[in-house]
């Protein structure tokens, strides 16, 4: 398993830089991943998404889809694409310390 420096921490990652061990996730790590993904600063709107993803994963063992984020009232699809440009599902999952989403939608 590879290691990577995200902000102040050195963490275990997979080949694409997704955290291998969620227990190593911190808000500083999240911010560093976000910067690497082209998001200069995580706003309260970003954190709301991140927190929901983590909560939903804890409850269901799955990273919620874009559709679920929209339907649960957390964030509209339009806003999600604005907040995480160029790949919302993947970027939000990565910043949240999740594995890469595998679904097609």
């Amino acid at each position: 398993m590879a290691q990577k420096q995200y902000g102040p921490a050195t963490v275990e990652v997979d080949a694409e830089g997704y955290l291998a061990d969620f227990s190593q996730w911190t808000r500083e790590v999240a911010a560093a991943i976000a910067r690497e993904e082209g998001i200069a600063e995580l706003t309260p709107a970003h954190w709301k998404v991140v927190e929901y993803i983590q909560k939903d994963f804890k409850e269901n063992g799955q990273v919620p889809s874009i559709r679920k984020l929209n339907k649960s009232g957390v964030i509209s699809t339009k806003e999600l694409y604005e907040l995480f440009p160029g790949g919302p599902a993947k970027k939000a999952a990565k910043i949240s310390g999740m594995k890469k989403p595998e679904g097609c939608v």
Partner: protein, 155 residues
């Protein structure tokens, strides 16, 4: 590494759930990867963006060898509706939305929808017959203009 795909223009020409979904899934998947996506609807594929029909698209149970059953069963009254309802339930579970919601989702994701001029003329349709996500009615030439510099996928 080879160059990444930056733009796809997907033609949806076939009706029925099995005709419409592959293109929608590919378009949505493109947007999820940050790829620009255009959708061009022609012939019976156009049902997916017409207000009257988009919510009533069924899976073809006749002449569809993929159904894994004798075609004669497919002609039974209500059979297509039943197969459609089963399929929709399964898809909903894996978060593939019904057609109208899927169209909205792709549009919200930044995908662009176009209707084919020839089909519009043939079926005597008007702009008002289409759902609000449809950008415009365009001819083939305009489609190529929009698709320029990207990949074209025909479904």
């Amino acid at each position: 590494m080879t160059d990444k795909i930056k733009k796809v223009s997907i033609i949806i020409s076939k009706g029925g759930l099995e005709g419409v979904y592959p293109g929608l899934i590919m378009a949505n998947g493109a947007r999820m990867e940050g790829i620009e996506a255009n959708l061009f609807f022609t012939f019976f594929g156009m049902d997916a963006i017409t207000k009257k029909r988009m919510g009533k698209i069924k899976v073809a149970t006749v002449g569809n060898p993929g159904m894994h059953m004798p075609s004669i069963l497919g002609i039974l009254p209500g059979f297509s509706a039943m197969a459609t309802s089963m399929m929709k339930k399964t898809m909903d579970k894996i978060d593939i939305p019904p057609v109208p919601e899927f169209v909205e989702m792709i549009a919200d994701a930044g995908g662009k929808f176009y209707a084919c001029k020839a089909t519009v003329d043939m079926f005597k349709l008007k702009k008002e017959d289409f759902c609000e996500q449809v950008d415009s009615i365009i001819n083939v030439g305009k489609f190529y203009e929009i698709a320029a510099g990207g990949e074209i996928i025909f479904t």
